[in-house]
Amino acid sequence: MPELARLSLESQGDIELARVAGEVDASNVADLSQRLLAAVPNGARALVLDLSDTSYIDSSGISLIFDAAARLRNRNQELRLVVTPHSFVGEVLGAVSMERSVAIDAALDDALRAVGDSDPREPEAG
């Protein structure tokens, strides 16, 4: 189906992994946001959002990430992004200084390891 974006979800222990392939814009962001947040159970430590296969994201997608980060933080859950360095998505995230608010890793393994290293019960240092 030529859907603009495809979301696939997977649990790895107490980490939720969400992959977004395709394009994210104002036409599909509400739907993605709803499905993404519904996918994270209370017991999960973190959500890893893998944007490696995301070919396009705009300000509505950026808002989705900021919103998700704020909600998860309220529930003492962590959000980490996986973004290929020097990719288009990386550039857009850089334009709004996303790295200051949300942890960004270059590869999925790095993100999963980083969740394992941190203690999610501790309040975020900032």
Binding site: L4, D25, S27, Y56, D58, S59, S60, F88, A95
Partner: protein, 530 residues
Amino acid sequence: MTEDVVIRVEDVQRITESALAYLDLNDLLTELLDRVTDILAADTAAVLLVEEGGRTLAARAAKGLEEEVERGFRLPIGRGFAGRVAFIREPVVIEDLDRSEIQPVNPLFREKGVRSLLGVPLVVEGEVIGVLHVGSLTPREFHERDIELLQVVADRVALSIERSRLMVQGQIAETLQRSLLPRTLPRVPGLRMAARYLPAADETAVGGDWYDVIELRQHRIGFVIGDVAGHGMAAATYMGQLRSAVRAYALDTERPSEVITKLAEFADRMHSRMATVIYATLNLNTWEVRFARAGHPYPLLLHADGTSQFLTDTGGPPLGTVGGATYEEESVNLMAGESLLLYTDGLIERRGHKLVEGEAHLTEVASSAPDEPELKCQAITSELTEDISIADDIAVLVVQTVGLHELLEVEVPAEPGQLATARHLIRRWVEANEGTDDDCAAFAIAVSEACANSIEHAYGPGDAMIELRAALVDGMATVSIRDRGQWREPRGGNRGRGIPIMSEFMDDVSIDSSTRGTTVDLQRRLREGS
């Protein structure tokens, strides 16, 4: 030559003269009844027609017995005088009603004092469709030549009535036909479309051709062209059923091959006449066309350089000819400024000419016709129907992708679902003007952000449009996005990131907002640093 015969020839001429053909049916019947009573020295005359169901006759026109029509007189076939004429299908003469074994049903004969009657059947292709009779208020004989003359008039009347019935049906068929064709074509960013339907010159030959444009989900649009065999009401009605069926399958099924396969199954179950059809989809983000063809003439692809090709790779039998037929689909990627021409066989089929000649003529005309789709449609239909009366219906549909020259001007509906199409268009334009992948990506997001702002801030719900204009001057690409609404202040903490993102990717961003609307100008030098 006897005097009698000379008079007869003149009489027949008075009945058959061609000027009468221009009268409408009521005037023609009145005129003929006048003339025939005059020629036969009769006092009354009447035409009765067989009604639907074939069991009764009803008065249609009368002279001297006008009340017959006014009162809506009808009688069963087989009874009374006219009923007997229709029943035995031969002339009947009553020399004196008072002494006849045939008892008329119509009380008017007695009221008016009719004494003698001559009636002949109205016959079309072996079927009795009515009765013509003349009467006299004094007893008289009707001679063989009177009977023959009345039969000439009857044949004339029968033909006119049949012709008039076909005309009326043809007019209804054409009205139905036209009501089933799109009144306007949808406005789709990046596409230009035009269509024509030309009914057959002979109204009785109308019916059965159609075209349709269907707005689908997922940035796709569907095109249909089809032709039901035969003419008239039955063909137009079946066309309407097929049209609805394609629309329903198109919304439900993505692949054109599956849509046509389902349609063929539908046609099998209808046990109706043969039909040919093409169903095509166009993806607005890639300009990929996929189509399936059931016995229909080949689509013609017109390249921007004036060359062209028929798309002949796949195809299956016409609908309603082979039970359980399945269909394949083929695809073609449209380039900028290309046109896809869909048409029905009336455009290329000419009596006494081979089909390949018609195809060659179409290729030649389509290639030299103006680029603009409306003008192209006009030129194609008028040049290919020059010197001939249109024997069969013609439907033509032209779908064209915008040309990506230095200047691009398109309108995009102000809906979030159109953002991807706007990005596709601007990427194509930057690509066509030799921008790099980075240039394409930069303009895609900046344009998409500007359009999203217009959608979010400028308009309420409705069918508002955003104008997109891209121009390249000395390597500097400028894209203007213009709406006609008034921007509201950004709402919510996470809003208002669009403008910084535009600035990040562009060399210059300017926003000019007034009461009449907002224009965002985006500028970036192409191939900077490459």
